[in-house]
């Protein structure tokens, strides 16, 4: 048991994408999914308790070591990453696709009330969004959905892990009400 945990830990260190339980299982010739999951959970809490520079996260259907956000500024001194900075418009478009996928462009534009062609192209280029296929309606419009990369970038386990948008009632409270 202890050994499995170590093997998994070593795999996680070398893997260049989130490792899924299935993938680990195929590598280990290990039929028991439960055992792998247990080892992963133990690893996760070990790294959590250690409070070191990184931790083990569950993202995009797999597990991956990631640095703690507290140290972002130091890492940026080391690697100067390309900033992913997304505009408000891009984030809105992405949110619509994430919550409503599969969705056609027309429906996206209907919600935002503006043309989204340029933003969609940019999201496609950044691989946050992909074309799933075409919808069987006149004009056969392209159908959009989010990618695995999207889950990785936003640190989501899967699509169910998407944060629930605030209900409007609450939102209303954050906006000061009419004074009586």
């Amino acid at each position: 048991m202890e050994q499995i945990k170590n093997i998994i830990e070593s795999l996680l260190l070398v893997a260049d994408e989130p490792l899924s339980v299935d993938r680990i299982r195929s590598i280990l010739d290990q039929p028991e999914k439960k055992e792998i999951k247990k080892a992963l959970e133990e690893l996760m809490s070990e790294y959590e308790n250690r409070k070191g520079g990184f931790f083990l996260r569950e993202v995009a259907g797999g597990y991956q070591f990631r640095t703690r956000p507290e140290y972002r500024e130091w890492i940026k001194r080391l690697i100067q990453p390309k900033p992913i900075r997304l505009s408000k418009a891009a984030l809105e478009t992405l949110a619509i696709i994430a919550y409503k996928q599969p969705i056609i462009r027309n429906d996206i534009e209907h919600i935002r009330g503006v043309n989204c062609g340029g933003i969609l192209r940019m999201l496609l280029e950044r691989k946050l969004v992909r074309v799933l296929g075409r919808k069987a309606i006149p004009g056969r419009p392209l159908v959009y959905a989010t990618t695995k990369q999207f889950l990785e970038v936003f640190e989501l386990k899967n699509l169910e892990d998407l944060p629930t948008p605030q209900e409007i009632k609450e939102l209303d409270d954050s906006v000061p009400k009419n004074r009586d």
Partner: protein, 238 residues
């Protein structure tokens, strides 16, 4: 006063009519379930006027919203006769989309506040390539010229096979070809460049297929890589 309006505008460049509406609702502390429609219509039109005066081209979307608002306003003014309208509030026409839009805005904010990869959190090997260890040896990304080269070879092969082009009745559009190719990729994940052309020897079809591939690359549906040793070009579905 004038300066005040100016300032607000510079800080908020409204991307669309919904954006502007939300701004006005917040600014005037309105309840979205009880919007004073006359006031908001007036404010909305005022902004459009102002935008015109500083020579911002007003997009059709803004005008459409203005007409919707005006329509609702006039409906509100009409006395309600009988029961046929079932007291449906004409304002629902904008309240529903507004709700939806606000929900999306809050979702977008929540997404933005997460620990973003490459911004807040990092992985050990950030410069990963998309196509992981390949089936047939070392591969490199392909540029446009290699692609055109490969395309020319296929065209040559075709003209060698038949001297004259036969007119075919049913030509396929680039769009439909993309749909077909997506089907192929869904099942196969990756295909060699030549495989895509082996079955059809008609020149126009070859051209359509090639255009479809270019379009799919542009849409980031596929990436193209070439084996260093064999020169085989392979297309990967993303």
């Amino acid at each position: 006063m004038k300066e005040d309006v100016y300032k607000v505008q510079i800080e908020n460049i409204f991307e669309g009519p919904m954006d502007l509406l939300v701004h006005l609702i917040k600014k005037h502390e309105m309840d979205i379930y009880d919007i004073p429609i006359a006031l908001i219509t007036e404010q909305y039109l005022k902004y459009l006027e102002w935008m015109k005066s500083i020579n911002i081209d007003i997009a059709g979307d803004f005008i459409l919203m203005a007409s919707t608002l005006t329509k609702i306003k006039s409906k509100m003014l009409l006395p309600v006769h009988g029961e046929e309208d079932e007291d449906e509030d004409p304002r629902l026409e904008i309240v529903k989309p507004l709700e939806e839009y606000l929900r999306i805005r809050s979702a977008a904010d929540k997404l933005a506040s997460r620990n973003l990869l490459g911004e807040d959190t990092f992985v050990r090997n950030p410069h990963q390539e998309n196509f992981s260890a390949d089936q047939d040896g070392e591969i490199i990304k392909v540029g446009l010229f290699e692609l055109i080269d490969a395309f020319q070879k296929i065209l040559e092969r075709i003209s060698a096979q038949r001297g004259v082009d036969i007119l075919t009745a049913d030509t396929i559009s680039v769009r439909d070809r993309i749909a077909q190719l997506i089907d192929t990729f869904e099942t196969k994940k990756s295909v060699t460049f030549n495989e895509l052309f082996s079955s059809n020897v008609d020149k126009s079809e070859v051209v359509v297929t090639f255009l479809a591939i270019l379009e799919m690359v542009r849409l980031s549906l596929i990436t193209i890589a070439q084996n260093i040793q064999t020169g085989t070009i392979r297309l990967f579905y993303l």
